[in-house]
Structures are given as structure tokens and as C-alpha cells.
Subunit: 228 residues, 2 copies
């Protein structure tokens, strides 16, 4: 056993989680953060070496991430970070529009005042990041805002489904818009209107605004991909 002593931060994880889970999380993080680009090949031995584990847990993590839609396996050839096609991204946007419309309607019907306070705080923070032209922070908060809205519906299955789609979309953006100008869309006004509609308990309007909000993202994708 030539394995070096793990860092202190790793010990607690190693004790409570299986190595497969640790590897899975680490790879997912690298994919989502862009450390592993779509199309990149993952070598079992290499990954195992980097994480100081054997190939067993790595292979198990590969199977999990494959099912999660982040990796693709070619038998006897290797596993690759999935590349999402424009068509697939379009399908995801279409689905997201349906789900987000439901989210808007549902929140208008059953959000609590505490939930509303949270959303307003996130919208304010989003406006600040936008004014400061802080793209990373804006992106982070934008994801958090939408994710929190979905959570506040109280439907755990919806949360699960939604997050899966968002992960794949993130993969696509990283692939397609890598060299793109980092112009932040500034949807601050739209965000405010959505929260207002929810606060006003106008389910019809909140749903419509959410759907249109997603459709605009979809249109931006097409505009960025096709050199119109």
C-alpha cells in the first residue's frame, strides 16, 4: 500500500461515504466547473491515480454518472464527457419551460411569506451582481434563484427532475458558448416581475412569465449558436 495519507478534509468523507460516492461527486464537480470539457476522454487508471483510489470505485462512479446523463460509454473504448447537441438542448429548454410554468403557478398558489422574502433577497442580490458586471456571481445567483423557486414548490420529484435538466444544460453551455462573449443577459426586470406576480398570487401571470423567461433563454441559445 503506497497510498499517501489523505488530507484531513478527506478523512471525514472517507469515513461516512463510499469511495464510489466521493469519486462520483468529484467528477461531477469537475464536469460542471468546466475542468472536464464535453467530449473529453476519462482514463480509468489516470482518474484512479489522481484521486488515490483503485479502478473499482472509479468504474462504479462512471456507471452512475452515465445514468445521470453526464458521461457516455463506448464499450472497450472508454468513457467520455457527454456532448449535448443543439437539438437536445432545445428539447431540454422546451421541457424546462413546461416545468417552470408549473413552478410559477404553484408558487403563486402556495408560497409562504418566508419563501417570498428569500426570493426577494435573491432578486436583489442578482440586481447587484448585474450592476457590478460580475458574471460569475450573476450566474451562480441566477441558478440559485431558479433552483430555490423549484424547491419552494415542495415537490421533491420536480426538484430532482429539474436539476437533472439544468445539469445537462450547463454541460451544453460550457460546450457551445465556451468562446462566447461573457455578456450577462440582465434579466433583473423579468425576475422582479416574476416575484411580483407570485406575491400578487396571480398564478396565470406567474406561470406565463416563467415560461417566457425560459423561452427567451432558449432564443438566446439559438442566437448564440446560429450566426444569424
Amino acid at each position: 500500500m503506497s497510498r499517501p495519507a489523505p488530507l484531513a478534509s478527506e478523512i471525514s468523507i472517507l469515513q461516512s461515504q463510499s469511495l464510489t460516492t466521493v469519486v462520483q461527486r468529484e467528477l461531477e464537480m469537475r464536469i460542471m466547473s468546466g475542468g472536464l470539457a464535453p467530449g473529453a476522454k476519462l482514463n480509468e487508471i489516470e482518474v484512479a491515480g489522481q484521486l488515490n483510489v483503485s479502478r473499482g470505485p472509479v468504474r462504479e462512479a462512471f456507471r452512475a454518472l452515465e445514468q445521470a446523463g453526464l458521461l457516455r460509454t463506448e464499450k472497450n473504448r472508454g468513457v467520455f464527457v457527454r456532448a449535448i447537441s443543439v437539438q437536445e438542448a432545445d428539447e431540454i429548454y422546451e421541457l424546462r419551460a413546461v416545468l417552470d410554468e408549473f413552478v410559477g403557478r404553484t408558487l403563486a398558489a402556495r408560497i409562504t411569506s418566508e419563501g417570498l422574502r428569500e426570493l426577494r433577497a435573491l432578486v436583489e442580490a442578482l440586481g447587484a451582481a448585474s450592476a457590478a458586471r460580475d458574471l460569475d456571481e450573476y450566474t451562480r445567483l441566477n441558478l440559485a434563484f431558479h433552483d430555490r423557486m423549484v424547491e419552494l414548490t415542495g415537490n421533491g420529484k420536480l426538484v430532482e427532475t429539474y436539476r437533472r435538466l439544468v445539469k445537462e444544460l450547463t454541460l451544453f453551455r460550457r460546450e457551445a458558448l465556451s468562446g462566447s462573449t461573457g455578456a450577462l443577459p440582465d434579466s433583473t426586470r423579468e425576475h422582479r416581475e416574476i416575484v411580483s406576480a407570485i406575491a400578487a398570487r396571480d398564478a396565470e401571470l406567474a406561470g406565463r412569465l416563467m415560461r417566457e423567461h425560459v423561452e427567451r433563454g432558449r432564443a438566446r441559445m439559438h442566437a448564440a449558436v446560429d450566426p444569424a
Copy 2:
């Protein structure tokens, strides 16, 4: 190597697919068909022995099925067939209602005459199975009818998402309604109305009928679970 010669039908599979995939499919089939009931514990060595493979592919299949929502893992304890709670089933029905409403609207807008012919044939077959009181056939055709509708939308991501939810609902029904009377609901009339609305290109109506159709299934579940 004391492994017996595989059947001819297995050889082609072994050549084209990895053992992990074969094991995964086999386990999924056993779970969906009820051979493995919710809550049942799966022993690695036992499964490996039954399928004449080593524990490696079995463990990899476990990770994939865990991600697919059909198995649950407790560290150092084992993997179990997932048991879906009533609340979770309710969440899934709520989601399905949203998706199926979208399916109805979409089909009304873009179904082809060939697709319409297919749906009509399925509805007829469903009516026949209902008249013959053939519950198994009715269940099979009912799943096929709804699955085909989703396919005909042309949105592959939607198909993927929908099937995942249906699998989990099947798991729940198998768990909760195991001792229930096998009374078939006979939604023949509803099915006919849905197809009619689609054929009439009435998106609004088709969507509403689909949503209500799912909501009735949801209500039947609650009625079957709570002794009202």
C-alpha cells in the same frame, strides 16, 4: 473457470453489450415484473451467482440502477429495491399531470395522420382488452398508449423523463396495491375523447383531458391507499 456454457441467446448479448448492461437490464426487468418486491435486499454474491458473472459487473449495475431511482444503497449494509412512499407517488402524479398536459397540447399541434392512426388502433385494442376483462393486456396496452403519445411529441428528453417517472410509479403500485382487487379502471371513454381532441387539433381541450386523466389516476391511488 467453472462457468457453464451460456445459452445461444445470451452469446450475442455478451458480444455486443457489457455484462454490466446485461445485469442492469435483467435486474430492472425483475423489479418491474414484480419478481423483486420493493424493500427486498439484493445480495451481490447471490445475484452474481444467478447470472453467472462476478461481483464487479453486479456492483456497477447496482450503481446505475441506484441513479435510475430503482435501488437504494445503505453503506456497508447492502442495496434494496426502493419503496416509494405515498407522498412521493403523489409528487410523481403531480409532475405527470404537468407533462401529460403538455403532451396533449403538443400532439394536437403537431401529430401526423400516421401517428393518429396508431393512437386510434391502440385505443381500439384497449377497448377490446377492457371488454374481455383482460387486466394484464389492458395494463400493457395502457402503458403503450401513453408511452407512444409521449414519443410522438418528438421530444426525446421528455420521453426519457416521462419513462423514469412511470417506472417509479409502477414500483409504487406493485408495492401498495399488491393485494388489491384487480379492477381495471376502464378509461376507454377518456382515451377516445383524448384522441378525438387531438384529431380536432384542439390543443386546449387535449391538454385539459390529459391532465384530468392523470388526476383521476392520482385520485384512484389515494382511494386505494386510504380506506375512506
